[in-house]
């Protein structure tokens, strides 16, 4: 099993927009490695004869009709946001438009 490197931790953190201190990185390296090695137990199962599946449940074709339902009103929609101007969610300036 490959070892989880400091760079791996940093990369995952940056994708999740998390700022980690040096101590954090060491701590998460150990924790993530524990999680991964636990999941890797699955590697011991022989799946060579098993067809890959797309979903754990065998149901397919679950649709809804194209019929409108009431939306939340603006105040409700914004209610849980840390910062709003009453109309929009406000977020710190996005400097680099992707």
């Amino acid at each position: 099993m490959s070892e989880l490197t400091v760079d791996d931790v940093k990369k995952v953190a940056s994708l999740a927009r998390l700022k980690l201190s040096g101590d954090d990185i060491a701590r998460y390296q150990k924790k993530l490695e524990n999680v991964l090695s636990y999941v890797h137990l699955l590697d011991e199962v022989d799946t060579s004869d098993v067809e890959p599946m797309a979903h754990a449940i065998e149901a397919v074709n679950v649709f809804r009709q194209d019929e409108p339902r009431d939306s939340l009103d603006q105040a409700q929609a914004l209610a849980n946001a840390p910062q709003t101007d009453g109309k929009y969610f406000l977020v710190p300036a996005i400097l680099d438009e992707a």
Binding site: K11, L15, F63, D66, L90, A93, A98
Partner: protein
């Protein structure tokens, strides 16, 4: 040194459903009332569960079929994960390895009149994100987020890099736009962002030694007009050529990666953006909240049966059936389905496709532009115009008189009187525009006029035929329906007979 521009387009089109793709919020462009079309599902609140909109999936099948795609019998949805304020769940529901359609094509007329067969790699169904508005004062104020658009059904259509110039890329986008509009799957309103596109561009440069090199691939993001697509690719091709001549950097060199650039429409330049996260960084995995979809033969047959005649097929049919030139057929088709329907009714009604196309592409189109209306609101119904043109085709009315009747019908409408077939006859009578069936009246009028123009008659006898002008004018003034050519010939004939 031969340089070829190589382009592939990724087109995003918003599907024209009543509701969003995974929830019952209305799917409507509504920037004036931000965050009024959201619910726990499209806000990504904990515990909310998405359910697929059946109509969004049906419109996707329609589009893929029209693009000659192979349709998958089994398809699923995946989570594409990235962190951005317009995406509250921090993942976009999209399709990764099992898109519902793949391997299609669209034929496009290129500048040289040749048909280009543009392959389509895949079309997949996903959800649109919200809209960010940034503080443009430069003082770094907060960005505003409107999530009304979040969860709008979005079809991504990915072409192969088969396009060979900026103009060809524009032509492809125009043909796609036309097709999607005909199919009615999207309103394709580019100002409102219903149709947006990213362009992958690089150059193939033939070296003196006969080898061809490729420049690094650049993806230009978020182009939202036909002109923008053409201008951005043109700019980018020039920029890449210049960069190559300076650095010699080419595709496949160590350290050369795909670059993402933006398009500044005001300054007409592309500009570097921070490198996008690599594909593997999206950490796709199957979305456990959504069930896969299977498609049956019956379902495909039903969709196939519902398809309209595609614009390309109709263009060919108009050429064959009504004798239109390729150019005229394109003009009619490119005006949209309703306009093509109007033309076809007129052509059928008057029995002369060429006459019909002249009138609809000149007189009708000009009026539509002047009145800023679509053909649906054009005052003269197709059967009335057909009746008018039929008189011209039958030789009962000159083209010039036809125009007078046409203008009169329009001014009738402006005065509140609906144009009708009966009014055509009335106008012809009122204005005395009917072409003369027998020449008796014409001959006596000509004789009377000749008698008043001895000098001109003398000139004509001496071979100065242009001297007939004033006589023609005088006769025409009294007989409005006369055909000037006939009058001219008749005058000369009478004068020469009597000499």
């Amino acid at each position: 040194m031969k340089v070829t521009t190589v382009v592939g387009l990724e087109v995003h089109v918003q599907l024209h459903t009543r509701t969003k793709i995974f929830c019952g919020c209305v799917n409507r462009f509504n920037p004036d009332a931000p965050n009024t079309q959201t619910c726990p599902v499209c806000l990504g609140l904990p515990g909310a569960l998405p359910v697929m909109n059946q109509e969004a999936f049906r419109l996707s099948l329609v589009t893929a079929m029209a693009l000659n795609c192979e349709l998958a019998r089994f398809t699923k949805w995946d989570r594409k994960q990235y962190y951005y304020p317009d995406l509250p769940k921090a993942y976009q529901i999209s399709q990764y390895d099992l898109p519902f359609s793949h391997d299609g094509w669209l034929d496009v007329s290129s500048e040289d009149g040749e048909t280009r067969h543009i392959r389509i790699n895949r079309a997949h169904l996903e959800e649109d994100a919200g809209k960010n508005t940034h503080d443009e004062s430069g003082r770094g104020g907060d960005s505003q987020v409107d999530l009304n658009r979040c969860g709008t059904p979005l079809l991504e259509i990915v072409s192969e890099p088969d396009l060979r110039s900026a103009a060809e890329a524009k032509a492809y986008l125009e043909e796609l736009h036309l097709l999607l509009t005909y199919l009615g799957v999207s309103d394709c309103n580019m100002q409102e962002g219903s149709l947006r596109c990213d362009a992958n561009v690089n150059l193939h440069i033939e070296q003196n030694n006969g080898e061809t090199i490729a420049t690094p691939i650049v993806e230009i993001k978020n182009l939202n007009s036909f002109r923008g697509v053409e201008a951005a690719i043109t700019y980018e091709a020039d920029r890449q050529q210049e960069e190559y001549s300076k650095t010699g950097r080419k595709l496949g060199d160590p350290g050369v990666e795909k670059e993402t650039r933006g398009w500044n429409a005001e300054r007409n330049v592309t500009f570097a953006q921070r490198g996008k996260e690599e594909a593997s960084d999206y950490r796709y995995f199957p979305d456990p909240d959504l069930m896969p979809v299977t498609v049956s033969d019956e379902q495909l047959a039903e969709v196939r049966g519902s398809l309209c005649e595609f614009p390309a097929a109709r263009r060919d049919r108009f050429e064959a059936e009504y004798g239109l030139s390729k150019y005229d057929a394109s003009v009619v088709i490119n005006q949209g389905e309703k306009f093509a329907d109007y033309f076809e009714s007129v052509a059928k009604g008057c029995g002369d496709g060429k006459q019909a196309v002249n009138w609809v592409t000149q007189n009708v189109l000009r009026e539509l532009n002047e009145r800023s209306v679509t053909v649906a609101d054009f005052p003269i119904p197709a059967d009335v115009l057909a009746a008018l043109l039929q008189r011209i085709v039958n030789g009962d009315l000159t083209v010039k008189s036809g125009r007078e009747v046409f203008d009169e019908l329009l001014s009738d409408h402006d005065k509140g009187m609906p144009p009708s077939i009966e009014r055509i006859s009335a106008i012809i009578d009122e204005k005395g525009l009917a072409m003369l069936a027998d020449t008796g009246e014409l001959d006596s009028l000509i004789d009377a006029t000749i008698a008043d123009h001895a000098k001109a008659v003398e000139d004509i006898r001496n071979g100065k035929l242009q001297a007939a002008g004033p006589i023609i004018g005088k006769v025409m003034k009294q007989l409005k329906g006369a055909d000037p050519q006939t009058v001219r010939e008749r005058i000369i004939e009478r004068i020469q007979q009597n000499s």
